[in-house]
Symmetry: C2
Subunit: 317 residues, 2 copies
């Protein structure tokens, strides 16, 4: 039986939310096993299923740890044990964790790096304005990058969108502060040259923040610091406007409930499945810290669909 | 008579939109003169007022020019002539331009730099979620910064918010990818140390993109590349949601027009007045390229209010 590894630590909502997510996965898929990494007693108290296996540990890497040192010193941290198991067990098809992005990246880098790859990155697949999807690389893992890495991220994104959505020649865009070729900081200008020169890429030029998710490119390349800003500024703005709509609707006695539900679904990226680590041999998917139990089910579906080479996931109605 | 210098070149909508804006300013203020820098024939054809003076030139610096070289080579470019006049003429109280941010910054740096300042920056005053205002520094001028510059931007922002809004001890926030002190890229981590150590600043820590405009800090510090992303991703998300609301309202025959007007006003940052160059002796205000004629009037009001030490401007209803 194929198994998915789930690290129960790192969620803002505590490990129970992850365990509840695991239960949803078991309920939804009857041919998948889970390897849960975390406190055995807690897990056994809350889940009872013959398709689970537990790797018992109470140690974890949190957001305050010095990530590089923590990964190598905390050999019993859930995330470290999980990535080792993923490497060693051919039945394990992938891993899901709400843990620290940097540590997950190191886990992939140390245990599962593909030959010839410089740095793995994390991709997020986001709903675009035109109804399609945009693959954002890097969405938060590598906060300091060079142009060679950003060029590599473009190629990872190209491969992902080709496999998942059957887009023959994904359009690659570069996040900048103007559409003109000459606009950007040093990193963007250097990357622009590399992307332009690589004839295997369908590079369509610079994109500004207001068109980042327009859908006019299939892959948007940026460093992880900026990728994180795109995700969070979009969410923050949506949260604020949704609040405005709710207030207005109440004050004016107008029924905008369907609209509000729609917006909450599209712009709550935490439910979208999760970020996919690229550049490694098996999928590791990072869920946002505020993910709820449904997110873990969506993420498992994404992982299973990725392996079946089907569409990554269906956008929520 | 006090005069404001207006550079008519650099607008995405062409120089006529700026000239119309100048007319609005003259209509609104009867005790202010304007120095218009641009094509004399075009200006004279479209505006007839004894309170204008024209500096005749058809040369300008556009977004495609190599800005540093262009500023020094194109000695008759509108923006170059305007910043020289601002330096030399005591009756000129400030300057407004929709031109290239980088070139405006150089104009300030070359002609009007305050003693002891390392690099000027551009501040945007944005409407916050809690009803107040956030001063975003740098909002797009300096794409590559070091920690010393970001520390300086924090001090400029502190001074601006103190003068304009009478906030005794403005709260300074630093844009990062997590609230924890340890989160960020190298630049943010270095800046965190400098801001923490400066006891003259009320530094309140890191802010993530989703809380950038919450209003929990009065000044948000970041480099110009990220500042530009905050502005544009916020605008892009708002544009998208406003479109969703309009579509839903039409399909369901619901009157959300008042809500739509409100959102369009709050999130169209191009009408907000403009970015203020800080670190120089007299105000230079950069209007966004897509500014309409009303923006130029709002900007002139902001400039006049700044000098009167009144509230920067009243948020549009």
């Amino acid at each position: 039986m194929k198994k998915i590894i789930i690290d129960i630590y790192g969620s803002d909502l505590g490990p129970l939310s992850v365990i509840k997510g695991a239960q949803l996965i078991l309920d939804h898929y009857d041919d998948i096993g889970l390897v849960l990494v975390g406190d055995k007693e807690l897990i056994n108290k809350n889940i009872d299923n013959e398709r689970i296996e537990i790797i018992d540990t109470k140690e974890y890497i949190d957001n305050l740890d010095d990530i590089f040192n923590a990964f190598f010193k905390k050999q019993n941290a859930s995330l470290v044990l999980a990535s080792k198991r993923l490497k060693e067990d051919d039945n394990c098809i992938g891993m899901i964790s709400p843990g620290n992005s940097g540590a997950l990246l190191i886990g992939g880098l140390v245990n599962l790096l593909k030959e010839g790859v410089n740095r793995p990155c994390i991709a997020a697949i986001l709903p675009a304005e035109n109804g399609g999807y945009v693959c954002l690389v890097d969405c938060g893992a590598n906060t300091d990058c060079n142009a060679i890495q950003l060029h590599e991220f473009a190629k990872f994104g190209q491969e992902l969108m080709r496999n998942l959505y059957k887009i023959d020649n994904p359009r690659i865009g570069l996040l900048s502060i103007g559409k003109e070729d000459s606009k950007g900081n040093r990193l963007v200008k250097d990357t622009f040259v590399l992307l332009s020169e690589d004839k295997s890429l369908n590079f369509v030029g610079n994109f500004e923040g207001n068109d980042a998710l327009s859908g006019e490119c299939d892959v948007l390349v940026c460093d992880g610091f900026n990728g994180n800003q795109i995700l969070k500024v979009t969410e923050g703005t949506a949260r604020r406007i949704i609040h405005d709509i709710a207030k207005y609707s109440k004050e004016n006695n107008i029924d905008n409930s369907e609209l509000l539900n729609h917006l909450a679904n599209v712009y709550d990226f935490s439910t979208l499945g999760g970020g996919i680590i690229l550049g490694i041999k098996k999928p590791i998917i990072k869920c946002r810290g505020n993910s709820n139990e449904t997110t873990y089910l969506n993420t498992a579906s994404m992982l299973i669909n990725m392996l079946n080479n089907k569409s990554l996931y269906d956008r929520k109605k």
